[in-house]
Subunit: 311 residues, 2 copies
Amino acid sequence: MSVERQRTAAVIGTGTIALGWIALFAARGLDVRVSSTRSDAEAHVRAELVRYAATLPEGPLDPEELFARLEFTASVDAAVEGADVVQENALEDLALKQKLFARIAAAAPRDALLLSSTSTLLPDDLGAELPTPGRVVVGHPFNPPHIVPLVEVVASERAEPGLVDRAVGFYRELGKTPVVLRRAVPGFVANRLQSALLRESIHLVREGVVTVDELDAVVTASIGSRWAVVGPFQAFHLGGGAGGLRHWFAHLGDGLERSWDGLGRPPVDADTVALLLEQAEASFGQESYDALATRRDQGQNAVIAALTELS
Amino acid sequence: MSVERQRTAAVIGTGTIALGWIALFAARGLDVRVSSTRSDAEAHVRAELVRYAATLPEGPLDPEELFARLEFTASVDAAVEGADVVQENALEDLALKQKLFARIAAAAPRDALLLSSTSTLLPDDLGAELPTPGRVVVGHPFNPPHIVPLVEVVASERAEPGLVDRAVGFYRELGKTPVVLRRAVPGFVANRLQSALLRESIHLVREGVVTVDELDAVVTASIGSRWAVVGPFQAFHLGGGAGGLRHWFAHLGDGLERSWDGLGRPPVDADTVALLLEQAEASFGQESYDALATRRDQGQNAVIAALTELS
Protein backbone atom coordinates (compact mmCIF):
# COMPACT_ATOMS: atom_id res chain seq x y z
CA MET A 1 0.00 0.00 0.00
CA SER A 2 1.34 3.37 -1.02
CA VAL A 3 1.71 5.86 1.80
CA GLU A 4 2.64 8.79 -0.40
CA ARG A 5 1.56 12.08 1.07
CA GLN A 6 -0.73 14.23 -1.05
CA ARG A 7 -0.10 17.93 -0.51
CA THR A 8 -2.26 19.74 -3.03
CA ALA A 9 -5.82 18.76 -3.85
CA ALA A 10 -8.02 20.33 -6.50
CA VAL A 11 -11.74 20.23 -5.75
CA ILE A 12 -14.03 20.75 -8.74
CA GLY A 13 -17.35 22.25 -7.66
CA THR A 14 -18.78 24.02 -4.61
CA GLY A 15 -21.98 22.05 -4.00
CA THR A 16 -22.80 20.12 -0.80
CA ILE A 17 -20.46 17.22 -1.52
CA ALA A 18 -17.62 19.47 -2.71
CA LEU A 19 -17.92 21.56 0.47
CA GLY A 20 -17.56 18.44 2.61
CA TRP A 21 -14.37 17.46 0.76
CA ILE A 22 -13.02 21.03 0.94
CA ALA A 23 -13.56 21.12 4.72
CA LEU A 24 -12.01 17.69 5.21
CA PHE A 25 -9.00 18.25 2.94
CA ALA A 26 -8.24 21.61 4.55
CA ALA A 27 -8.71 20.22 8.07
CA ARG A 28 -6.19 17.48 7.25
CA GLY A 29 -3.60 20.04 6.19
CA LEU A 30 -3.85 19.84 2.40
CA ASP A 31 -3.62 22.91 0.21
CA VAL A 32 -6.92 23.05 -1.62
CA ARG A 33 -7.57 24.62 -5.02
CA VAL A 34 -11.26 25.20 -5.53
CA SER A 35 -12.56 25.45 -9.08
CA SER A 36 -16.10 26.71 -9.51
CA THR A 37 -18.19 28.34 -12.20
CA ARG A 38 -20.01 30.39 -9.53
CA SER A 39 -19.04 34.04 -9.65
CA ASP A 40 -19.49 34.23 -5.86
CA ALA A 41 -17.62 30.97 -5.16
CA GLU A 42 -15.26 32.45 -2.62
CA ALA A 43 -17.95 34.19 -0.57
CA HIS A 44 -20.22 31.13 -0.82
CA VAL A 45 -17.55 28.71 0.41
CA ARG A 46 -16.48 31.08 3.18
CA ALA A 47 -20.07 31.33 4.45
CA GLU A 48 -20.78 27.60 4.17
CA LEU A 49 -17.53 26.50 5.81
CA VAL A 50 -18.79 27.79 9.16
CA ARG A 51 -21.20 24.84 9.53
CA TYR A 52 -18.70 22.31 8.18
CA ALA A 53 -15.90 23.52 10.46
CA ALA A 54 -18.27 23.19 13.43
CA THR A 55 -19.02 19.52 12.73
CA LEU A 56 -15.60 18.06 11.93
CA PRO A 57 -15.24 14.63 13.57
CA GLU A 58 -12.18 15.71 15.59
CA GLY A 59 -14.11 18.67 17.01
CA PRO A 60 -14.79 22.20 15.79
CA LEU A 61 -12.08 24.16 13.98
CA ASP A 62 -11.89 27.87 13.23
CA PRO A 63 -13.45 28.20 9.74
CA GLU A 64 -10.96 30.95 8.89
CA GLU A 65 -8.15 28.49 9.52
CA LEU A 66 -9.66 26.19 6.89
CA PHE A 67 -10.37 29.08 4.56
CA ALA A 68 -6.72 30.13 4.70
CA ARG A 69 -5.78 26.82 3.04
CA LEU A 70 -7.96 27.49 -0.01
CA GLU A 71 -7.21 29.09 -3.37
CA PHE A 72 -10.01 29.90 -5.82
CA THR A 73 -10.00 29.83 -9.58
CA ALA A 74 -12.67 29.67 -12.24
CA SER A 75 -10.23 27.76 -14.46
CA VAL A 76 -10.16 23.99 -14.16
CA ASP A 77 -6.75 23.97 -15.87
CA ALA A 78 -5.26 26.31 -13.28
CA ALA A 79 -6.83 24.36 -10.40
CA VAL A 80 -5.39 21.00 -11.40
CA GLU A 81 -1.98 22.18 -12.60
CA GLY A 82 0.60 20.65 -10.28
CA ALA A 83 -2.12 19.08 -8.09
CA ASP A 84 -1.46 15.69 -6.46
CA VAL A 85 -5.12 14.74 -6.45
CA VAL A 86 -8.31 15.98 -8.11
CA GLN A 87 -11.74 15.31 -6.56
CA GLU A 88 -14.46 16.08 -9.09
CA ASN A 89 -18.02 16.98 -7.98
CA ALA A 90 -19.72 18.32 -11.10
CA LEU A 91 -23.35 17.67 -12.00
CA GLU A 92 -24.32 14.07 -12.77
CA ASP A 93 -24.12 14.62 -16.54
CA LEU A 94 -21.99 12.06 -18.35
CA ALA A 95 -21.05 14.20 -21.37
CA LEU A 96 -20.12 17.10 -19.10
CA LYS A 97 -17.97 14.91 -16.85
CA GLN A 98 -16.29 13.20 -19.81
CA LYS A 99 -15.20 16.55 -21.24
CA LEU A 100 -14.19 17.75 -17.80
CA PHE A 101 -11.97 14.72 -17.16
CA ALA A 102 -10.37 14.99 -20.61
CA ARG A 103 -9.43 18.54 -19.74
CA ILE A 104 -8.30 17.62 -16.22
CA ALA A 105 -6.11 14.80 -17.55
CA ALA A 106 -4.47 17.17 -20.04
CA ALA A 107 -3.68 19.86 -17.44
CA ALA A 108 -2.91 17.81 -14.32
CA PRO A 109 0.43 16.06 -13.64
CA ARG A 110 0.68 12.64 -15.28
CA ASP A 111 0.63 10.87 -11.93
CA ALA A 112 -2.12 12.94 -10.27
CA LEU A 113 -4.97 10.89 -8.82
CA LEU A 114 -8.17 11.67 -10.73
CA LEU A 115 -11.15 10.95 -8.51
CA SER A 116 -14.88 11.43 -9.08
CA SER A 117 -17.58 11.78 -6.42
CA THR A 118 -20.21 10.51 -8.86
CA SER A 119 -22.99 8.39 -7.34
CA THR A 120 -24.50 7.19 -10.61
CA LEU A 121 -21.83 7.03 -13.35
CA LEU A 122 -19.26 4.31 -13.92
CA PRO A 123 -15.48 4.85 -14.10
CA ASP A 124 -15.16 3.36 -17.60
CA ASP A 125 -17.65 5.88 -18.93
CA LEU A 126 -16.10 8.82 -17.08
CA GLY A 127 -12.68 8.13 -18.56
CA ALA A 128 -13.89 7.36 -22.09
CA GLU A 129 -12.35 10.50 -23.64
CA LEU A 130 -8.96 10.16 -21.96
CA PRO A 131 -5.81 8.83 -23.68
CA THR A 132 -5.68 6.30 -20.79
CA PRO A 133 -9.39 5.67 -20.15
CA GLY A 134 -8.78 3.58 -17.00
CA ARG A 135 -7.32 6.53 -15.18
CA VAL A 136 -10.47 7.93 -13.55
CA VAL A 137 -11.34 6.28 -10.23
CA VAL A 138 -14.68 6.78 -8.51
CA GLY A 139 -14.30 7.85 -4.88
CA HIS A 140 -17.96 8.02 -3.93
CA PRO A 141 -18.53 9.49 -0.46
CA PHE A 142 -21.63 9.26 1.67
CA ASN A 143 -23.02 12.67 2.50
CA PRO A 144 -21.60 14.61 4.30
CA PRO A 145 -18.10 13.49 3.30
CA HIS A 146 -16.31 15.26 6.14
CA ILE A 147 -18.24 13.12 8.65
CA VAL A 148 -19.32 9.77 7.24
CA PRO A 149 -16.36 7.37 7.06
CA LEU A 150 -17.31 5.41 3.94
CA VAL A 151 -15.79 6.09 0.52
CA GLU A 152 -16.74 3.56 -2.17
CA VAL A 153 -13.76 3.15 -4.47
CA VAL A 154 -14.66 1.91 -7.94
CA ALA A 155 -12.10 1.55 -10.72
CA SER A 156 -12.15 0.57 -14.36
CA GLU A 157 -11.01 -2.94 -15.27
CA ARG A 158 -8.44 -1.14 -17.39
CA ALA A 159 -7.01 0.72 -14.39
CA GLU A 160 -3.21 0.55 -14.14
CA PRO A 161 -1.85 -1.74 -11.41
CA GLY A 162 -1.48 0.14 -8.15
CA LEU A 163 -3.96 2.86 -9.01
CA VAL A 164 -6.68 1.54 -6.69
CA ASP A 165 -4.14 1.18 -3.88
CA ARG A 166 -3.13 4.81 -4.35
CA ALA A 167 -6.75 5.96 -4.14
CA VAL A 168 -7.32 3.79 -1.05
CA GLY A 169 -4.11 5.15 0.51
CA PHE A 170 -5.24 8.71 -0.09
CA TYR A 171 -8.62 8.22 1.58
CA ARG A 172 -7.12 6.27 4.48
CA GLU A 173 -4.62 9.05 5.11
CA LEU A 174 -7.61 11.36 5.50
CA GLY A 175 -9.10 9.01 8.10
CA LYS A 176 -11.84 7.68 5.83
CA THR A 177 -12.96 4.05 5.44
CA PRO A 178 -12.50 3.20 1.74
CA VAL A 179 -14.18 0.02 0.51
CA VAL A 180 -13.12 -1.17 -2.96
CA LEU A 181 -15.90 -2.59 -5.11
CA ARG A 182 -14.80 -5.72 -6.93
CA ARG A 183 -16.84 -4.70 -9.90
CA ALA A 184 -18.76 -1.62 -10.90
CA VAL A 185 -22.53 -1.83 -10.53
CA PRO A 186 -25.05 1.00 -10.94
CA GLY A 187 -25.70 2.74 -7.62
CA PHE A 188 -22.67 0.99 -6.08
CA VAL A 189 -23.45 -0.62 -2.69
CA ALA A 190 -24.58 1.83 0.02
CA ASN A 191 -27.16 3.59 -2.15
CA ARG A 192 -28.58 0.28 -3.37
CA LEU A 193 -28.97 -0.84 0.25
CA GLN A 194 -30.61 2.48 1.13
CA SER A 195 -32.94 2.08 -1.79
CA ALA A 196 -33.91 -1.44 -0.71
CA LEU A 197 -34.77 -0.20 2.76
CA LEU A 198 -36.60 2.83 1.45
CA ARG A 199 -38.69 0.69 -0.88
CA GLU A 200 -40.01 -1.38 2.02
CA SER A 201 -40.35 1.73 4.21
CA ILE A 202 -42.58 3.44 1.65
CA HIS A 203 -44.56 0.24 1.27
CA LEU A 204 -45.25 0.05 5.02
CA VAL A 205 -46.34 3.69 5.19
CA ARG A 206 -48.61 3.27 2.16
CA GLU A 207 -50.14 0.20 3.76
CA GLY A 208 -50.95 2.19 6.88
CA VAL A 209 -48.81 0.04 9.18
CA VAL A 210 -46.80 2.98 10.52
CA THR A 211 -46.37 6.67 9.73
CA VAL A 212 -43.17 8.24 8.43
CA ASP A 213 -41.94 9.21 11.90
CA GLU A 214 -42.97 5.88 13.46
CA LEU A 215 -40.98 4.10 10.73
CA ASP A 216 -37.98 6.29 11.54
CA ALA A 217 -38.43 5.54 15.25
CA VAL A 218 -38.44 1.79 14.57
CA VAL A 219 -35.15 2.11 12.68
CA THR A 220 -33.27 4.31 15.15
CA ALA A 221 -34.45 2.16 18.08
CA SER A 222 -33.34 -1.14 16.53
CA ILE A 223 -31.48 -1.82 13.28
CA GLY A 224 -29.84 1.62 13.17
CA SER A 225 -27.77 1.31 16.31
CA ARG A 226 -27.26 -2.40 15.53
CA TRP A 227 -25.79 -1.73 12.08
CA ALA A 228 -23.63 1.08 13.43
CA VAL A 229 -21.82 -1.70 15.32
CA VAL A 230 -22.06 -4.83 13.16
CA GLY A 231 -23.20 -5.14 9.56
CA PRO A 232 -26.22 -7.21 8.53
CA PHE A 233 -24.32 -10.46 7.91
CA GLN A 234 -22.58 -10.44 11.27
CA ALA A 235 -25.87 -9.38 12.89
CA PHE A 236 -27.66 -12.40 11.44
CA HIS A 237 -24.66 -14.59 12.32
CA LEU A 238 -25.15 -13.61 15.96
CA GLY A 239 -28.93 -13.83 15.60
CA GLY A 240 -28.40 -17.52 14.86
CA GLY A 241 -27.03 -18.08 18.36
CA ALA A 242 -23.91 -20.18 18.89
CA GLY A 243 -24.64 -22.00 15.60
CA GLY A 244 -24.19 -18.75 13.73
CA LEU A 245 -25.14 -18.04 10.15
CA ARG A 246 -25.02 -21.77 9.30
CA HIS A 247 -27.71 -22.54 11.87
CA TRP A 248 -29.68 -19.48 10.81
CA PHE A 249 -29.83 -20.52 7.14
CA ALA A 250 -30.61 -24.14 8.07
CA HIS A 251 -33.37 -23.00 10.41
CA LEU A 252 -35.00 -20.59 7.96
CA GLY A 253 -34.44 -22.87 4.99
CA ASP A 254 -36.50 -22.02 1.94
CA GLY A 255 -38.57 -19.57 3.97
CA LEU A 256 -35.96 -16.85 3.47
CA GLU A 257 -36.22 -16.78 -0.31
CA ARG A 258 -40.01 -17.05 -0.12
CA SER A 259 -40.02 -14.07 2.26
CA TRP A 260 -38.60 -11.86 -0.53
CA ASP A 261 -41.97 -12.12 -2.26
CA GLY A 262 -43.79 -10.79 0.79
CA LEU A 263 -41.89 -7.51 0.59
CA GLY A 264 -43.45 -4.50 -1.10
CA ARG A 265 -42.84 -2.81 -4.42
CA PRO A 266 -44.75 0.41 -3.87
CA PRO A 267 -45.63 2.82 -6.66
CA VAL A 268 -44.17 6.29 -6.14
CA ASP A 269 -47.12 8.12 -7.65
CA ALA A 270 -48.47 11.56 -6.77
CA ASP A 271 -50.70 10.18 -3.99
CA THR A 272 -47.83 8.29 -2.39
CA VAL A 273 -45.54 11.32 -2.47
CA ALA A 274 -48.32 13.51 -1.06
CA LEU A 275 -48.89 11.06 1.81
CA LEU A 276 -45.19 10.89 2.66
CA LEU A 277 -44.75 14.67 2.49
CA GLU A 278 -47.82 15.30 4.62
CA GLN A 279 -46.56 12.97 7.35
CA ALA A 280 -42.98 14.25 7.09
CA GLU A 281 -44.09 17.85 7.31
CA ALA A 282 -46.18 17.06 10.38
CA SER A 283 -43.11 15.73 12.19
CA PHE A 284 -39.47 16.62 11.40
CA GLY A 285 -40.61 19.00 8.66
CA GLN A 286 -41.46 21.46 11.44
CA GLU A 287 -37.78 22.03 12.20
CA SER A 288 -35.26 23.98 10.13
CA TYR A 289 -32.87 22.19 7.80
CA ASP A 290 -29.86 23.63 9.62
CA ALA A 291 -31.05 22.55 13.06
CA LEU A 292 -31.84 19.02 11.87
CA ALA A 293 -28.62 18.67 9.87
CA THR A 294 -26.50 19.89 12.77
CA ARG A 295 -28.20 17.42 15.13
CA ARG A 296 -27.70 14.61 12.61
CA ASP A 297 -24.01 15.47 12.23
CA GLN A 298 -23.38 15.82 15.96
CA GLY A 299 -25.17 12.52 16.53
CA GLN A 300 -23.23 10.69 13.89
CA ASN A 301 -19.94 12.06 15.21
CA ALA A 302 -20.92 10.98 18.73
CA VAL A 303 -21.76 7.46 17.54
CA ILE A 304 -18.49 7.10 15.65
CA ALA A 305 -16.47 8.53 18.56
CA ALA A 306 -18.14 6.16 21.04
CA LEU A 307 -17.30 3.15 18.86
CA THR A 308 -13.74 4.34 18.19
CA GLU A 309 -13.20 4.65 21.91
CA LEU A 310 -14.38 1.07 22.47
CA SER A 311 -12.21 -0.47 19.78
CA MET B 1 -51.45 6.97 29.43
CA SER B 2 -51.58 4.57 32.34
CA VAL B 3 -48.62 4.73 34.68
CA GLU B 4 -49.62 1.75 36.77
CA ARG B 5 -46.63 -0.01 38.26
CA GLN B 6 -46.24 -3.69 37.41
CA ARG B 7 -44.70 -5.61 40.32
CA THR B 8 -44.78 -9.25 39.30
CA ALA B 9 -43.97 -10.50 35.83
CA ALA B 10 -44.25 -14.08 34.61
CA VAL B 11 -41.83 -15.02 31.86
CA ILE B 12 -42.72 -18.13 29.86
CA GLY B 13 -39.62 -19.82 28.45
CA THR B 14 -35.88 -19.67 29.03
CA GLY B 15 -34.54 -19.23 25.48
CA THR B 16 -32.45 -16.28 24.28
CA ILE B 17 -35.34 -13.82 24.14
CA ALA B 18 -36.80 -14.96 27.47
CA LEU B 19 -33.40 -14.54 29.13
CA GLY B 20 -33.18 -10.94 27.89
CA TRP B 21 -36.60 -10.17 29.37
CA ILE B 22 -35.75 -11.94 32.63
CA ALA B 23 -32.55 -9.88 32.99
CA LEU B 24 -34.34 -6.63 32.16
CA PHE B 25 -37.37 -7.23 34.38
CA ALA B 26 -35.19 -8.22 37.35
CA ALA B 27 -32.82 -5.28 36.78
CA ARG B 28 -35.81 -2.93 36.86
CA GLY B 29 -36.93 -4.31 40.21
CA LEU B 30 -39.78 -6.59 39.19
CA ASP B 31 -40.35 -9.94 40.83
CA VAL B 32 -40.00 -12.49 38.06
CA ARG B 33 -41.65 -15.90 37.88
CA VAL B 34 -39.93 -18.08 35.33
CA SER B 35 -41.89 -20.96 33.81
CA SER B 36 -39.91 -23.46 31.80
CA THR B 37 -40.25 -27.07 30.68
CA ARG B 38 -36.46 -27.53 31.06
CA SER B 39 -35.60 -29.72 34.03
CA ASP B 40 -32.41 -27.67 34.53
CA ALA B 41 -34.12 -24.31 34.08
CA GLU B 42 -32.82 -22.80 37.29
CA ALA B 43 -29.16 -23.77 36.68
CA HIS B 44 -29.42 -22.75 33.03
CA VAL B 45 -30.80 -19.29 33.81
CA ARG B 46 -28.30 -18.75 36.60
CA ALA B 47 -25.39 -19.55 34.27
CA GLU B 48 -26.71 -17.50 31.37
CA LEU B 49 -27.55 -14.45 33.49
CA VAL B 50 -23.85 -13.76 33.95
CA ARG B 51 -23.51 -12.48 30.36
CA TYR B 52 -26.83 -10.60 30.46
CA ALA B 53 -26.03 -8.90 33.78
CA ALA B 54 -22.69 -7.78 32.33
CA THR B 55 -24.29 -6.02 29.36
CA LEU B 56 -27.22 -4.17 30.92
CA PRO B 57 -27.50 -0.68 29.39
CA GLU B 58 -27.10 1.04 32.77
CA GLY B 59 -23.86 -0.86 33.41
CA PRO B 60 -23.05 -4.29 34.81
CA LEU B 61 -25.03 -5.65 37.75
CA ASP B 62 -24.23 -8.57 40.03
CA PRO B 63 -25.97 -11.57 38.39
CA GLU B 64 -26.80 -12.97 41.82
CA GLU B 65 -28.73 -9.79 42.58
CA LEU B 66 -30.87 -10.45 39.52
CA PHE B 67 -31.15 -14.13 40.30
CA ALA B 68 -32.47 -13.31 43.78
CA ARG B 69 -35.54 -11.73 42.14
CA LEU B 70 -36.48 -14.93 40.31
CA GLU B 71 -38.82 -17.77 41.22
CA PHE B 72 -38.93 -20.95 39.14
CA THR B 73 -41.83 -23.22 38.39
CA ALA B 74 -42.56 -25.80 35.72
CA SER B 75 -46.25 -24.92 36.00
CA VAL B 76 -47.56 -22.14 33.78
CA ASP B 77 -50.61 -21.84 36.05
CA ALA B 78 -48.46 -21.24 39.11
CA ALA B 79 -46.23 -18.76 37.27
CA VAL B 80 -49.07 -16.52 36.11
CA GLU B 81 -51.26 -16.72 39.21
CA GLY B 82 -51.40 -13.23 40.68
CA ALA B 83 -48.97 -11.86 38.04
CA ASP B 84 -49.41 -8.30 36.77
CA VAL B 85 -47.91 -9.11 33.40
CA VAL B 86 -47.06 -12.23 31.41
CA GLN B 87 -44.39 -12.18 28.68
CA GLU B 88 -44.63 -15.35 26.59
CA ASN B 89 -41.62 -16.68 24.63
CA ALA B 90 -42.60 -20.18 23.57
CA LEU B 91 -41.71 -21.75 20.21
CA GLU B 92 -43.24 -20.12 17.12
CA ASP B 93 -45.98 -22.76 16.89
CA LEU B 94 -49.47 -21.29 16.60
CA ALA B 95 -51.41 -24.24 18.05
CA LEU B 96 -49.00 -24.44 20.99
CA LYS B 97 -49.25 -20.72 21.71
CA GLN B 98 -53.05 -20.71 21.37
CA LYS B 99 -53.35 -23.45 24.00
CA LEU B 100 -50.78 -21.72 26.16
CA PHE B 101 -52.61 -18.39 26.11
CA ALA B 102 -55.95 -20.08 26.85
CA ARG B 103 -54.35 -21.58 29.92
CA ILE B 104 -52.60 -18.34 30.88
CA ALA B 105 -55.86 -16.37 30.57
CA ALA B 106 -57.65 -18.88 32.81
CA ALA B 107 -55.01 -18.81 35.56
CA ALA B 108 -53.84 -15.16 35.50
CA PRO B 109 -55.71 -12.24 37.08
CA ARG B 110 -58.45 -10.82 34.84
CA ASP B 111 -56.55 -7.57 34.34
CA ALA B 112 -53.08 -9.04 33.84
CA LEU B 113 -51.32 -7.88 30.68
CA LEU B 114 -50.84 -10.86 28.36
CA LEU B 115 -47.90 -10.18 26.07
CA SER B 116 -46.26 -12.35 23.40
CA SER B 117 -42.72 -12.01 22.05
CA THR B 118 -43.73 -13.68 18.78
CA SER B 119 -42.02 -12.40 15.66
CA THR B 120 -44.21 -14.22 13.15
CA LEU B 121 -47.71 -14.72 14.56
CA LEU B 122 -50.55 -12.21 14.74
CA PRO B 123 -52.39 -11.21 17.93
CA ASP B 124 -55.81 -12.22 16.59
CA ASP B 125 -54.56 -15.73 16.00
CA LEU B 126 -52.78 -15.98 19.34
CA GLY B 127 -55.94 -15.08 21.25
CA ALA B 128 -58.32 -17.21 19.17
CA GLU B 129 -59.05 -19.69 21.99
CA LEU B 130 -59.63 -17.07 24.69
CA PRO B 131 -63.08 -16.00 25.96
CA THR B 132 -61.92 -12.44 25.03
CA PRO B 133 -59.78 -13.08 21.94
CA GLY B 134 -58.52 -9.48 21.70
CA ARG B 135 -56.72 -9.77 24.99
CA VAL B 136 -53.31 -10.97 23.77
CA VAL B 137 -50.98 -8.15 22.72
CA VAL B 138 -47.77 -8.75 20.80
CA GLY B 139 -44.76 -7.08 22.43
CA HIS B 140 -42.10 -8.06 19.93
CA PRO B 141 -38.58 -7.16 21.05
CA PHE B 142 -35.47 -6.90 18.95
CA ASN B 143 -32.77 -9.27 20.13
CA PRO B 144 -31.34 -8.91 22.76
CA PRO B 145 -34.34 -7.39 24.55
CA HIS B 146 -32.39 -6.14 27.57
CA ILE B 147 -30.33 -3.87 25.24
CA VAL B 148 -32.18 -2.90 22.07
CA PRO B 149 -34.78 -0.20 22.82
CA LEU B 150 -37.46 -1.18 20.30
CA VAL B 151 -40.57 -3.14 21.22
CA GLU B 152 -43.15 -3.46 18.44
CA VAL B 153 -46.59 -3.43 20.02
CA VAL B 154 -49.27 -5.07 17.91
CA ALA B 155 -52.84 -5.53 19.11
CA SER B 156 -55.98 -7.13 17.78
CA GLU B 157 -58.64 -4.86 16.30
CA ARG B 158 -60.86 -6.38 18.98
CA ALA B 159 -58.58 -5.21 21.80
CA GLU B 160 -60.37 -3.45 24.64
CA PRO B 161 -59.89 0.33 24.77
CA GLY B 162 -56.85 1.21 26.84
CA LEU B 163 -55.17 -2.16 26.46
CA VAL B 164 -52.53 -0.90 24.01
CA ASP B 165 -51.82 2.09 26.27
CA ARG B 166 -51.26 -0.26 29.18
CA ALA B 167 -48.79 -2.35 27.16
CA VAL B 168 -47.01 0.80 25.98
CA GLY B 169 -46.90 2.11 29.55
CA PHE B 170 -45.39 -1.14 30.80
CA TYR B 171 -42.58 -1.11 28.23
CA ARG B 172 -41.90 2.61 28.72
CA GLU B 173 -41.59 2.10 32.45
CA LEU B 174 -38.86 -0.42 31.68
CA GLY B 175 -37.05 2.21 29.58
CA LYS B 176 -37.91 0.63 26.24
CA THR B 177 -39.08 2.41 23.07
CA PRO B 178 -42.46 0.88 22.20
CA VAL B 179 -43.82 1.62 18.71
CA VAL B 180 -47.47 0.70 18.13
CA LEU B 181 -48.26 -0.77 14.73
CA ARG B 182 -51.45 0.70 13.28
CA ARG B 183 -52.27 -2.63 11.79
CA ALA B 184 -50.84 -6.12 12.04
CA VAL B 185 -48.72 -7.23 9.10
CA PRO B 186 -46.63 -10.43 8.84
CA GLY B 187 -43.07 -9.81 10.04
CA PHE B 188 -44.14 -6.48 11.59
CA VAL B 189 -41.80 -3.60 10.64
CA ALA B 190 -38.18 -4.03 11.80
CA ASN B 191 -37.82 -7.58 10.49
CA ARG B 192 -39.33 -6.66 7.14
CA LEU B 193 -36.82 -3.81 6.82
CA GLN B 194 -34.00 -6.18 7.80
CA SER B 195 -35.21 -8.64 5.21
CA ALA B 196 -35.28 -5.96 2.49
CA LEU B 197 -31.69 -4.98 3.26
CA LEU B 198 -30.58 -8.61 3.49
CA ARG B 199 -32.12 -9.41 0.13
CA GLU B 200 -30.06 -6.73 -1.60
CA SER B 201 -26.98 -7.64 0.47
CA ILE B 202 -27.13 -11.25 -0.66
CA HIS B 203 -27.68 -10.10 -4.23
CA LEU B 204 -24.53 -7.93 -4.15
CA VAL B 205 -22.41 -10.73 -2.71
CA ARG B 206 -23.74 -13.23 -5.28
CA GLU B 207 -22.95 -10.74 -8.05
CA GLY B 208 -19.36 -10.49 -6.83
CA VAL B 209 -19.55 -6.77 -6.10
CA VAL B 210 -18.39 -7.16 -2.49
CA THR B 211 -17.75 -9.97 -0.03
CA VAL B 212 -19.75 -10.58 3.14
CA ASP B 213 -17.35 -8.61 5.32
CA GLU B 214 -16.94 -5.80 2.78
CA LEU B 215 -20.73 -5.49 2.69
CA ASP B 216 -20.78 -5.29 6.49
CA ALA B 217 -18.02 -2.65 6.38
CA VAL B 218 -20.02 -0.53 3.93
CA VAL B 219 -23.00 -0.61 6.28
CA THR B 220 -21.21 0.16 9.55
CA ALA B 221 -19.22 2.97 7.87
CA SER B 222 -22.28 4.70 6.39
CA ILE B 223 -25.96 3.89 6.78
CA GLY B 224 -25.51 2.13 10.13
CA SER B 225 -24.31 5.11 12.12
CA ARG B 226 -26.63 7.34 10.06
CA TRP B 227 -29.74 5.34 10.95
CA ALA B 228 -28.70 5.12 14.61
CA VAL B 229 -29.28 8.89 14.63
CA VAL B 230 -32.05 9.60 12.10
CA GLY B 231 -34.35 7.13 10.35
CA PRO B 232 -34.41 6.71 6.57
CA PHE B 233 -37.14 9.29 5.92
CA GLN B 234 -35.45 12.04 7.89
CA ALA B 235 -32.11 11.02 6.34
CA PHE B 236 -33.53 11.47 2.83
CA HIS B 237 -35.24 14.69 3.94
CA LEU B 238 -31.82 16.07 4.87
CA GLY B 239 -30.25 14.51 1.77
CA GLY B 240 -32.56 16.78 -0.24
CA GLY B 241 -30.81 19.87 1.12
CA ALA B 242 -32.82 22.86 2.31
CA GLY B 243 -35.68 21.78 0.00
CA GLY B 244 -36.07 18.59 2.02
CA LEU B 245 -38.02 15.52 1.03
CA ARG B 246 -40.21 17.59 -1.31
CA HIS B 247 -37.20 18.63 -3.36
CA TRP B 248 -35.77 15.11 -3.19
CA PHE B 249 -38.91 13.49 -4.63
CA ALA B 250 -39.24 16.21 -7.29
CA HIS B 251 -35.58 15.79 -8.24
CA LEU B 252 -35.69 11.99 -8.46
CA GLY B 253 -39.14 11.94 -10.00
CA ASP B 254 -40.08 8.67 -11.64
CA GLY B 255 -36.51 7.43 -11.32
CA LEU B 256 -37.14 6.30 -7.76
CA GLU B 257 -39.86 3.83 -8.64
CA ARG B 258 -37.89 2.62 -11.67
CA SER B 259 -34.91 2.05 -9.39
CA TRP B 260 -36.88 -0.60 -7.48
CA ASP B 261 -36.58 -2.83 -10.53
CA GLY B 262 -32.80 -2.58 -10.52
CA LEU B 263 -32.64 -4.18 -7.08
CA GLY B 264 -31.93 -7.88 -6.75
CA ARG B 265 -34.10 -10.84 -5.87
CA PRO B 266 -31.46 -13.46 -5.25
CA PRO B 267 -32.19 -17.16 -4.95
CA VAL B 268 -31.16 -18.62 -1.59
CA ASP B 269 -30.08 -21.98 -3.01
CA ALA B 270 -27.35 -24.30 -1.75
CA ASP B 271 -24.64 -22.54 -3.79
CA THR B 272 -25.62 -19.12 -2.46
CA VAL B 273 -25.66 -20.33 1.15
CA ALA B 274 -22.30 -22.06 0.63
CA LEU B 275 -20.77 -18.85 -0.76
CA LEU B 276 -22.09 -16.74 2.12
CA LEU B 277 -20.95 -19.24 4.76
CA GLU B 278 -17.50 -19.58 3.20
CA GLN B 279 -16.98 -15.82 3.26
CA ALA B 280 -18.50 -15.42 6.72
CA GLU B 281 -16.34 -18.18 8.15
CA ALA B 282 -13.23 -16.57 6.63
CA SER B 283 -13.94 -13.33 8.52
CA PHE B 284 -16.03 -12.99 11.68
CA GLY B 285 -16.63 -16.75 11.76
CA GLN B 286 -13.09 -17.04 13.16
CA GLU B 287 -14.17 -15.51 16.46
CA SER B 288 -16.25 -17.10 19.19
CA TYR B 289 -19.95 -16.38 19.49
CA ASP B 290 -19.52 -15.05 23.02
CA ALA B 291 -16.72 -12.65 22.08
CA LEU B 292 -18.62 -11.30 19.09
CA ALA B 293 -21.93 -11.03 20.95
CA THR B 294 -20.31 -9.23 23.86
CA ARG B 295 -18.62 -6.77 21.50
CA ARG B 296 -21.91 -6.21 19.67
CA ASP B 297 -23.73 -5.57 22.95
CA GLN B 298 -21.07 -3.24 24.35
CA GLY B 299 -21.01 -1.37 21.06
CA GLN B 300 -24.75 -0.98 20.92
CA ASN B 301 -24.87 0.21 24.53
CA ALA B 302 -22.11 2.73 23.78
CA VAL B 303 -23.99 4.06 20.74
CA ILE B 304 -27.23 4.42 22.67
CA ALA B 305 -25.48 6.05 25.64
CA ALA B 306 -23.67 8.54 23.37
CA LEU B 307 -26.95 9.55 21.74
CA THR B 308 -28.81 9.74 25.07
CA GLU B 309 -26.12 12.07 26.39
CA LEU B 310 -26.52 14.36 23.36
CA SER B 311 -30.30 14.59 23.56
